[in-house]
Subunit: 314 residues, 2 copies
């Protein structure tokens, strides 16, 4: 297999190419809208501690696909949630996601110099500032969720705080990163890799989808369907990420590539091979879309998104 | 001035020594009770990510004075709040305080090897685990506060989350640490040091006192009185901390001493001198106690605590 930059999935392309334009347009709108809310909720650089504000903004406004906000907005739309509320949840999740990138890139963690095509926060500032900016973004996520602007019902705000804390905490994202730190040269099998990824990236995808439903006070069965969707989606996303690490370039992805192999990290790509991983990604895309059967055509973007991801080049 | 280990404040000792036994007993009870709640809310080491659980527990159960829990419990008692609710707020604050110690001790921050008489978390484990354990403790604080066991009213739980996020965030504790990182060899004057300390340690003391009042849905004027008390208390605490760094020993304090001077950090002790700083601490103790005039004898421990701190040797 040549290290090609062509990530085309023939079948997916011929099968459902028509609605990708809509996904692209919706994705662009979501990014623009969540960035305008992030602009409002992030502190403006001020006072003698302005450096931490600058680092928070540097990390958040480095671009990024804003995929989690796209999920929040689309899932909230299924239930007719007012967009300005969904955007605050989306901004909180994006702030928290950014903190995880800043901390994961630290020299003592993945030691990465490049992220979203720019020097990582600890390179652009310094390690201490990066630790503090990450801490501040994590804390800000809970400040935003608990604010009455997010929802008039304190009960719903508390549910959001509680679910995000669980998704991002020791039994979710942080636990996954802990396992990942020990994954180098550890002979993980496929189920172990799936379990790791479900914690490390899956938990926040699950909250991104369920958050929209929580805002609406949706039925438990609807929430469960969205979590199931997010589970397939998150794993699919991780496989495409791992594929890019193998067959992509830094120019495309804006980050260091070839790392997993150098670090001897087991991924579904290293276990299943490139072709096997692609097949599994295609299977997950179809499975994710199926989970949305109960929703009508308002879920079209969510249905297409997994297939769109199969084609991602960054 | 000899580098004596005697921190006796003559006047304070003769003035109000009688009730110190009660402060000591109350302090011991508070530590025991909050530790039993921390034991319940901290994850038991489990799964392939057990290392982060072990590090969280190592950091939290390293001893410590549990001063913030003591404040929460005593302030909650002023309003007749049920102890098991106050204890959950106290546990959340102690988890968050511990995270700040773990991150502040990192090599890229204060680079400390010794804390509470034991190797710091990144020394006992490793830097990556210490970053993650700190992140997990911060996240856990919000999980605990947002849980219905903390208070049946979601509105009150949300207020707690919101106030803690502000106290601990970029405009509070984290902002103060950012300024402190740049304080080495920076010619801060006394008002600048006071402003830094009010953010770095004061904000969490303020929330510790106000948290008890929030649990009770107390009057704004009562909450303001407790914040005023906490402001004096926090500054007094910081002065006694800085004094110990100058005249204490590592055996006494369980942490590295003489650091501020080596790092050229301005403190109220370096600006006012040891005697001047002691006088200012005494003034603040009296001022803090005065702020409690509106409360009856239920505030006795809170009134004595600042004077007790004047005598602290660790």
């Amino acid at each position: 297999m040549p290290a090609s930059v062509d990530l085309t999935y023939g079948e997916a392309r011929t099968f459902r190419p028509l609605r990708f334009d809509r996904v692209k347009a919706d994705s662009k709108d979501a990014a623009r809208d969540v960035e305008s809310v992030l602009e409002l909720v992030l502190p403006k650089p001020n006072g003698s501690h302005h450096r931490v504000h600058e680092a928070m903004r540097y990390a958040v406004f480095a671009g990024g696909k804003r995929l989690r906000p796209l999920l929040v907005l689309n899932c909230a739309r299924l239930f007719g949630v007012e967009p300005h509320r969904a955007l605050r949840v989306a901004a909180a999740i994006e702030a928290l996601h950014t903190y995880s990138l800043v901390h994961d890139d630290l020299p003592c963690m993945d030691d990465d110099d490049l992220r979203r095509g720019r020097p990582t926060t600890h390179v652009a500032f310094d390690e201490a500032t990066a630790v503090l900016a990450g801490d501040a973004l994590l804390t800000l996520a809970f400040e935003v969720l608990s604010h009455p602007d997010t929802h008039p019902s304190a009960d719903i705000r508390c549910q959001l705080v509680s679910h995000l804390a669980k998704a991002a905490g020791n039994a979710g994202m942080i636990g996954g990163q802990m396992v990942d730190m020990e994954a180098a040269n550890h002979p993980f099998d496929a189920p172990e890799v799936v379990s790791l990824q479900r914690m490390k990236t899956g938990a926040l995808f699950e909250f991104s989808c369920e958050g929209g439903a929580i805002l609406a006070g949706a039925l438990a069965s609807d929430r469960e369907a969205l979590r199931d969707y997010a589970r397939d989606f998150g794993l699919l996303y991780q496989i495409t990420d791992d594929l890019l690490d193998v067959v992509g370039t830094s120019e495309q992805t804006g980050k260091t590539v070839g790392k997993d192999q150098r670090q001897g990290k087991a991924t579904l790509v290293s276990i299943l091979g490139v072709d096997g991983a692609r097949k599994e990604a295609e299977r997950l895309a179809a499975s994710a879309a199926d989970k949305l059967d109960r929703f009508n055509d308002k879920a079209d973007v969510l249905r297409e998104l997994p297939f769109f991801l199969l084609d991602r080049e960054s």
